[in-house]
């Protein structure tokens, strides 16, 4: 599952001063993000005493009172921080294309050192490479974050948590390079030519999705879920 940072902020979210003043039904309303940010800047509030049990809301998601050993706490914290992350654009993410990682944000141009071939697909028997104008959806990301919150995958984040699309802007090549190779005591000169090809992508969409309903129940690793999505596409 996603591990969320930092730990101190987890405590702050639960025990903001506004939270202790408000009555339980009011606390269920979405708290202003400014309050969260300001709370994180003042160190004195970290030592604030925990809420009395009466003030804690009955619903577990906003403020879990369970211990760390309780299994649902991971999902509950994920839900809390995921909501916070969603409301704090712009986002960044580290996508993985053929095991190469690229840290991108919306509007970035990335140059891949290869011509991209789509994954094997029965609908595409010729398996042509991607051409300018094609849209791809990136499914493997190891880090997804904003200014203050980050979701880290082990090794990848579940692809249902985010939407990242890219458009192929350009399929290009470098100028031809020629290198002359010689051996001693021989007149023969071998010319080695190389001309590498590149694909240029532009990140056209980067968004954090709403937490899927089934995600609250499922807690396993992201691996099998990722492969499932790849097969669908």
């Amino acid at each position: 599952m996603a591990s969320l940072l930092p730990l101190s902020r987890r405590l702050l979210l639960r025990h903001t001063p506004a939270a202790s003043i408000l009555s339980p039904p009011l606390r269920l309303l979405p708290r202003p993000l400014a309050a969260i940010r300001h709370a994180s800047t003042s160190p004195s509030q970290t030592t604030q005493t925990p809420l009395p049990p009466l003030l804690r809301p009955a619903n577990p998601p906003p403020a879990p009172s369970t211990t760390a050993s309780d299994p649902p706490i991971d999902l509950t914290t994920l839900q809390t921080y995921h909501t916070a992350l969603r409301h704090q654009p712009p986002f960044y993410t580290t996508i993985h294309i053929h095991n190469r990682c690229y840290l991108v944000t919306l509007g970035d141009r990335i140059t891949l050192p290869a011509v991209l071939y789509p994954p094997r697909n029965p609908a595409n028997p010729l398996n042509k490479p991607l051409a300018p104008g094609d849209t791809i959806k990136l499914t493997h990301a190891s880090v997804l974050g904003s200014r203050e919150y980050t979701i880290k995958g082990t090794p990848f984040i579940d692809p249902r948590l985010f939407t990242c699309r890219a458009v192929v802007v350009e399929v290009t090549a470098e100028p031809m390079r020629k290198k002359e190779k010689t051996k001693r005591r021989q007149r023969r000169v071998k010319t080695v030519r190389s001309k590498h090809r590149y694909t240029v992508l532009r990140i056209s969409e980067l968004a954090v999705n709403e937490l899927p309903v089934e995600f609250t129940a499922a807690g396993g690793a992201a691996g099998p879920e990722i492969t499932k999505v790849v097969k669908e596409g």
């Binding site: 053929h98 095991n99 994954p119 609908a123 595409n124 991607l130 094609d134 959806k137 990722i226």
Partner: protein, 92 residues
């Protein structure tokens, strides 16, 4: 149906011609070559001949070399949503 999955870990260089012949019969030409064989007494006897050189396990599925290669590859990390060149590209 189970299969023997045999990988040649140590080379057969320097062994007797009989053992080299067994390796050849099993289809183990180079180190790290993996082959699949049916489970039967004849194969088991061959494997016992060269048991010092191989890594052995049983599997339910026989994989081709291409499948084994693809299994080792990292995930491509993307799916094509819209392609101008190919009609009916995956619309997920």
């Amino acid at each position: 149906m189970p299969f023997f999955k045999v990988t040649l870990i140590r080379s057969g260089i320097g062994l007797t011609h009989k053992k080299l012949g067994v390796l050849k019969a099993l289809g183990l030409r180079k180190r790290m070559r993996t082959v699949f064989h049916d489970v039967n007494p004849a194969i088991a006897g061959q494997l016992m001949k060269v048991k010092e050189l191989i890594a052995l396990s049983t599997t339910d599925k026989k994989l081709s070399r291409r499948q084994m290669h693809e299994k080792r590859q990292p995930p491509p990390g993307f799916v094509v949503e819209k392609s101008r060149l190919v009609e009916g590209e995956g619309k997920s």
